[in-house]
C-alpha cells in the first residue's frame, strides 16, 4: 500500500501536465470571488438607493397631495369669503344710495330756493349788515360811557392810590375798547406790536370782511355753481346706481348662500378624496419603481391591514365643540360658540360704573356732581369675534371689494371739494379762510410798575372805588352795561361772518365716501355674523376654543388690562371732560369770569380757563375708574377660552414658533416604507460563498409633511403672540392670534417637504403594515429611544 502511494506520488512528481491549470484555477477563483464581492456590493447599494429614491419620491408626492388639498380648502374658504363679501356689498348699496341721494336732493332743493331768493342766503347777509350796524351803535354808547367815566376818574376817591388804580383800570378799558373797535372791527394796525392784528385771513377787520365778502353780484353765480355741481354729483350717483343695478336686481343673499353651499360641498368632497388619491398615487409609485410601498400616519387613519388612509387635516366648523364657562362678570354659566366667539349672550360685558369725584376735588371745585357714569364696554362686548376662523380674509376681501363702487363716491366727494375751491375763488376767499375770534385778553400798550405788560380782558369790568360819587357809579354801570353789549355784538358779528364763510360748507362737505364706508361696515358685520351662525366652511383640525396657555397668562393679563384701561379712558375721557367743563363753566368755582362783561365772552373765557382743569380732573376720575374696572374685565377676559387655530406652544414664543410637534406629526405628517419586489431583490453573486446566506430584506423609509413656510413669516401669519392681545378689525383686540392658515392668501402656501423621521417610532406602533416591513428587514422591535437614535434621516 505504502509502495503504491509512493509510486503515485513519484508519477505525479514526474507528470508536469496541468500544473499551470491548477494555478490558473486558484487565480481565477480568487478573481471571480473578488468580482462577486464588488458586484454584490454594487448591487446592494444600487437597489438600496433605488428603494430610498422610491420611498422619498412617494413620500414627497403624498405630502404634495396633503399640501394641495390644504391649499384647495383654503381657496374654497376664500371663495366663501368672497361670496360673503359680495353679499355685504350688495347689502350696503341701497342704504348708501338712499343716504347720498337724499342728501344731494335736499341740497339741490335748498340751492334752488336760494336762487329764487326766498330765504337763507339773503337773510344771512342782511343779518350780518345789521350786526355791523349794532356794533357801531354799541361802540358809540360804550365809548361815550367810558369817556364819561374817564372825566370823573380823577376824583373817584380821596385815596390817591385808589384813584391811581381806578384811573389805570379806566385807561386799560380804553386800550381794550380802542383795539377792539379800531383793529378788530375796522382793521387798523394795533397800537402796540404786542397786540393782535386784525382777524381776517388777509389782515382785514370785521368791517372789511363784511364789505368784501358779500358782493351781491356773485351770489347768483355761486348758487348756480352749486346747482351745477349737485347735478353733476347726481349724474355720478346715477352711474353708481347703474353699475350696481344688475346685482341689486338679483337676490344676492340667496345666490351667495347657494354658491357657498356648493363650495362647501366641494370642500368636503375634496377632503374625502384625499385618502383614495394618496393610495392611488402610492400604487403609481410602486409600479414605477417596481417596489412594495406602504403608507403610515401618526394620527387617525392607521389601519390594521394595509397602508394607512391619509386623513385631511380639517374639521367642519359646525363640529367644533362649544365650551361652557362661568362668567365672573355676570355670575352666570354661559356657552361660548367656537365660531362666533364671545358674542351675544356670551359677550364679555361689564356693567357701567359710577365714578365718584374725590372729596378733595369737590373741595377744589364745589360745583361738580358727586359722580360720573363711566361706560365700561365696547359695542357687542370685549373681544367678540364673528366667524373667527375666516374673519381675517373676509374683512380684507370686503375692504378690497368696496373699492370698486367707492370710486363713484370718491368722485362725488371730489366734485364737492372742487366746488369748495370754485366758491372760494368766486367769493375771493383764501382756500382756508379763518376769522380769528375776539381774544379773551390783549396786552396792555404800556408797562406796569414792574416793567411787564398787563393782560387786559376784552372788555374789562370796571368797579367803582369805595367812596365814589353816585354819578361816577352810574357812569361805570352804563359802561359795564354797554361794554357787555358791545363785545357781545362784536362776537355775534364774528360768528355771523364765520357762518357766512362756511355758509356753503353744506354743499361742499365731503360725505359720500364715509356714507359708503358706514353702510359697508354695517353690512360687513351682519354678513360675517351670519357666516359664523351658518358655519358652512371648514377649519383646521387643530382649531378649537382653548384657554390661554399658562405661561402666557401673566403677559396676556397685563396686556389685556392695559388695553382695556386705555380703551375705557379713551372712550370716556371726552364726554366726562365736557361734562366737567360744563359744570365748571356753570359754577365758576374759581371766580375767574368776574372781569368779563358779556356772557358769551365770559363763557368762552371760562371754557378756556377751566379746560385744562377739566381735562386733568376728568382723567383723574376716568383713569381711577378704569384702573378699578379693567382688572375685573381682564380677569374674565384672560379666563375665557379663545379660538386658537393651532395648539398653543407649551413654552414661550419666541423661540417656539408655529405648530407644535404633536400636531404636526398627527395632522400633517406621513411616513412611507419601501421594500423590493421579488424581481427587484438584489441579485447576489455567490452569496453563500461570500458568507451572506441570509441577507435581510432591504428596506427604506422616509417621512414627509405638508408645511406652510409663512408659519415663520411675520407679514403673513407668523409672529403669533400668545401672551399679548391681538389687534383685530371687529372687537379692537382679542386674546389669541387670528387664524390665517385656512382663510388668508398666506394660508394657501402649504408645501410638501421631506422631514427627519421623528414620527417613526409612533408610526411603528400604530401601523401594522409598516411594522411588518421593518420586521421583514430584521428590525423586530419598536423601542422608541432606539428608533429615535437610529433615525438618521
Amino acid at each position: 500500500m505504502a509502495f503504491r502511494i509512493i509510486s503515485i506520488l513519484h508519477r505525479l512528481h514526474r507528470d508536469r501536465r496541468g500544473n499551470i491549470g491548477v494555478l490558473m484555477l486558484l487565480t481565477v477563483w480568487c478573481l471571480v470571488s473578488l468580482m462577486a464581492m464588488v458586484w454584490n456590493t454594487g448591487e446592494v447599494a444600487t437597489k438600496r438607493q433605488n428603494l430610498q429614491t422610491a420611498v422619498d419620491s412617494a413620500a414627497q408626492s403624498e405630502a404634495t397631495w396633503l399640501a394641495r388639498i390644504t391649499n384647495l380648502v383654503t381657496a374654497q374658504n376664500m371663495v366663501i369669503c368672497q361670496d360673503g363679501s359680495m353679499e355685504a356689498i350688495w347689502r350696503a348699496v341701497p342704504p348708501a344710495d338712499q343716504r347720498v341721494r337724499a342728501e344731494l336732493e335736499n341740497e339741490l332743493a335748498e340751492a334752488q330756493k336760494l336762487l329764487s331768493g326766498d330765504e337763507g342766503f339773503q337773510k344771512l347777509r342782511d343779518q350780518m349788515l345789521k350786526k355791523l350796524q349794532a356794533v357801531d351803535t354799541e361802540y358809540a354808547q360804550v365809548s361815550g360811557a367810558l369817556a364819561n367815566v374817564q372825566s370823573q376818574a380823577g376824583g373817584a376817591s380821596s385815596d390817591p392810590k385808589i384813584n391811581q388804580k381806578f384811573g389805570n383800570d379806566v385807561r386799560q378799558a380804553g386800550v381794550a375798547l380802542n383795539w377792539t373797535q379800531n383793529t378788530y372791527v375796522n382793521g387798523q394796525p394795533p397800537a402796540s406790536n404786542r397786540q393782535p392784528n386784525p382777524p381776517g385771513p388777509r389782515g382785514e377787520g370785521l368791517r372789511q370782511l363784511v364789505q368784501n365778502w358779500s358782493p351781491p353780484d356773485t351770489e347768483v353765480k355761486l348758487i348756480q355753481a352749486v346747482i351745477a355741481s349737485l347735478n353733476q354729483q347726481l349724474v355720478v350717483l346715477g352711474q353708481f346706481e347703474a353699475r350696481s343695478a344688475p346685482g341689486e336686481a338679483q337676490n344676492v343673499p340667496a345666490i351667495a348662500a347657494a354658491h357657498e353651499a356648493e363650495v362647501f360641498d366641494n370642500e368636503r368632497q375634496m377632503a374625502d378624496q384625499l385618502s383614495a388619491t394618496a393610495l392611488h398615487q402610492m400604487k403609481q409609485h410602486a409600479d414605477f419603481y417596481n417596489v412594495q410601498l406602504t403608507l403610515a400616519v401618526c394620527g387617525n387613519g392607521a389601519q390594521s391591514n394595509g397602508p394607512a388612509q391619509l386623513q385631511p387635516p380639517f374639521a367642519l366648523a359646525a363640529d367644533i365643540p362649544s365650551v361652557s364657562h362661568y362668567d365672573s362678570l355676570s355670575g352666570q354659566t354661559i356657552t361660548i360658540d367656537p365660531i362666533n366667539v364671545h358674542a351675544d349672550e356670551a359677550k364679555i360685558w361689564s356693567p357701567n360704573v359710577q365714578a365718584a369725584v374725590p372729596h378733595w376735588l369737590l373741595q377744589m371745585f364745589p360745583g361738580l356732581p358727586a359722580a360720573y357714569t363711566i361706560n365700561c364696554n365696547i359695542a357687542d362686548g370685549w373681544g367678540h369675534l364673528y366667524a373667527a376662523p375666516i374673519h381675517r380674509y373676509f374683512n380684507e376681501r370686503v375692504g378690497k371689494d368696496e373699492q370698486g363702487l367707492q370710486i363713484y363716491m370718491q368722485q362725488i366727494d371730489d366734485l364737492r371739494r372742487q366746488l369748495a375751491e370754485l366758491l372760494n375763488q368766486l367769493r375771493g376767499l383764501p382756500p382756508k379762510a379763518n376769522i380769528a375770534s375776539l381774544p379773551m385778553t390783549i396786552s396792555d400798550s404800556q408797562t406796569n410798575v414792574t416793567g411787564g405788560y398787563d393782560l387786559i380782558p376784552v372788555l374789562p369790568r370796571l368797579t367803582s372805588p369805595a367812596g365814589a360819587t353816585d354819578e361816577l357809579r352810574a357812569a361805570v354801570d352804563i359802561y359795564n352795561k354797554h361794554g357787555g353789549t358791545y363785545t357781545g355784538a362784536v362776537r355775534s358779528l364774528q360768528a355771523a361772518l364765520v357762518g357766512w364763510v362756511h355758509y356753503y360748507d353744506r354743499f361742499t362737505r365731503p360725505f359720500a365716501v364715509s356714507a359708503w364706508h358706514g353702510a359697508v361696515n354695517r353690512a360687513r358685520a351682519l354678513v360675517l355674523k351670519n357666516l359664523g351662525i351658518s358655519k358652512q366652511f371648514m377649519v383646521l383640525a387643530t382649531y378649537q376654543l382653548r384657554s390661554i396657555p399658562e405661561w402666557a397668562q401673566a403677559g396676556a393679563s397685563v396686556s389685556a388690562e392695559s388695553a382695556i384701561r386705555d380703551r375705557i379712558v379713551t372712550d370716556n375721557i371726552g364726554p366726562v371732560s365736557r361734562a366737567i367743563l360744563s359744570a365748571m363753566v356753570g359754577s365758576d368755582p374759581r371766580g375767574a369770569g368776574g372781569g368779563y362783561l358779556d356772557p358769551t365772552g365770559k363763557d368762552q373765557y371760562l371754557g378756556a380757563f377751566y379746560s385744562q382743569w377739566a381735562s386733568a380732573v376728568a382723567y383723574q376720575i376716568v383713569n381711577t375708574a378704569a384702573a378699578r374696572v379693567s382688572p375685573l374685565i381682564a380677569a374674565e377676559w384672560v379666563s375665557r377660552p379663545w379660538p386658537y387655530e393651532i395648539t398653543p406652544p407649551d413654552q414661550q414664543v419666541p423661540p417656539a414658533v408655529g405648530m407644535i410637534t404633536a400636531d404636526r406629526q398627527r395632522f400633517f405628517t406621513l411616513l412611507m416604507a419601501a421594500r423590493p419586489q421579488q424581481t427587484t431583490q438584489p441579485k447576489l453573486f455567490m452569496s453563500k460563498l461570500m458568507g451572506n446566506p441570509q441577507t435581510p430584506q432591504l428596506l427604506a423609509h422616509g417621512q414627509a409633511e405638508a408645511f406652510n413656510w409663512m408659519e415663520f413669516h411675520r407679514a403673513y401669519g407668523g409672529g403669533e403672540r400668545f401672551d399679548q392681545v391681538t389687534w383685530g378689525t371687529e372687537a379692537g383686540f382679542v386674546g389669541c392670534p387670528v387664524p390665517w392658515r385656512l382663510s388668508t392668501e398666506g394660508g394657501w402656501n402649504w408645501h410638501p417637504r421631506l422631514a427627519t423621521a421623528d414620527a417613526l417610532s409612533a408610526a411603528l406602533q400604530n401601523n401594522p403594515e409598516l411594522s411588518d416591513f421593518f420586521q421583514q428587514a430584521g428590525i423586530i422591535g419598536n423601542d422608541a429611544d432606539s428608533v429615535d437614535k437610529l433615525t438618521l434621516h
Binding site: L34, Q52, V657, L754, T756, G778, L790
Partner: protein, 203 residues
C-alpha cells in the same frame, strides 16, 4: 583528464533540465503572487469605493432632512454606519456613540457583530464627512448641497499595500492606507424656520 571530467560535468550539469521547473516556479511565483496581490488589493479598493459612494449617498440623504432641522450628527452617523462593514476594528478605544448605536440595533432585534462598535469607531476616525460650512441650513430654503466623504482605507494585502498606500495610524490600527473620496449632490429640504431671524422669531 581530470580537467576534461570537470568540464564534462559542468556541461552535463548545464544541459541537465531536471529541477528547472522548480527554479522557474521559485522565481515566478512571488511575482505572480505579487501581481495577484495587487489585483486583490485593487479589487478591495474598488469595493471600498463602492461602499464609500454608498456612504456619501447615505450621508447626503441624511443631510436632506437633518441639516434643515439642525441635526448634523445624523449626517456623519449615516456615513459611519455605511462604512462600518469595510472597517477594521479600532484598537484604541470604542466611542460611547458606537456602543449606544450597537445597543439600539440589538434592542431592535438586528443581528450586530461584536466588532460593530469598534468598526464604527474606526469609521468615525477614518472618515471625514464634509459639506459647505458657510450655509446655515436651519434657516435656508431648499439649497443644493455637495456631500464629500473622504475615507482612509486600510490596505490589507501584504506587498501590494506598500505599492499603493502610505503608512499611517488610524484608530490604533497601524499599516498602509489610501484616502478614497466620494461626493454626492442633493437638494436639501426647505427648512421650517427658513424665514426666521437669529432668535427664531419670524422676519
Amino acid at each position: 583528464m581530470s580537467d576534461m571530467s570537470a568540464l564534462r560535468r559542468i556541461l552535463i550539469t548545464i544541459h541537465d533540465t531536471r529541477g528547472g521547473a522548480t527554479i522557474s516556479f521559485a522565481v515566478a511565483f512571488p511575482i505572480f503572487l505579487f501581481i495577484v496581490g495587487v489585483l486583490v488589493q485593487y479589487a478591495l479598493i474598488v469595493n471600498a469605493k463602492l461602499v464609500i459612494d454608498n456612504a456619501a449617498q447615505q450621508a447626503a440623504r441624511a443631510a436632506v432632512t437633518s441639516l434643515p432641522e439642525g441635526k448634523p450628527d445624523n449626517v456623519r452617523a449615516a456615513a459611519f454606519m455605511a462604512l462600518a462593514p469595510i472597517c477594521p476594528s479600532a484598537k484604541d478605544s470604542v466611542t460611547a456613540d458606537a456602543i449606544a448605536l450597537a445597543q439600539s440595533l440589538r434592542t431592535l432585534g438586528v443581528s450586530v457583530p461584536d466588532s460593530f462598535s469598534a468598526r464604527y469607531t474606526y469609521a468615525s476616525e477614518a472618515a471625514r464627512v464634509t459639506w459647505d460650512p458657510n450655509i446655515d441650513y436651519t434657516r435656508s430654503p431648499s439649497r443644493e448641497l455637495t456631500m464629500k466623504v473622504i475615507y482612509r482605507f486600510y490596505l490589507t494585502v501584504p506587498g501590494a499595500a506598500r505599492v499603493v498606500g502610505t503608512a499611517s495610524n488610524v484608530g490604533g490600527v497601524s499599516g498602509m492606507f489610501i484616502d478614497l473620496l466620494s461626493t454626492c449632490q442633493v437638494q436639501t429640504s426647505h427648512s421650517r424656520a427658513a424665514f426666521t431671524d437669529g432668535s427664531g422669531w419670524p422676519h
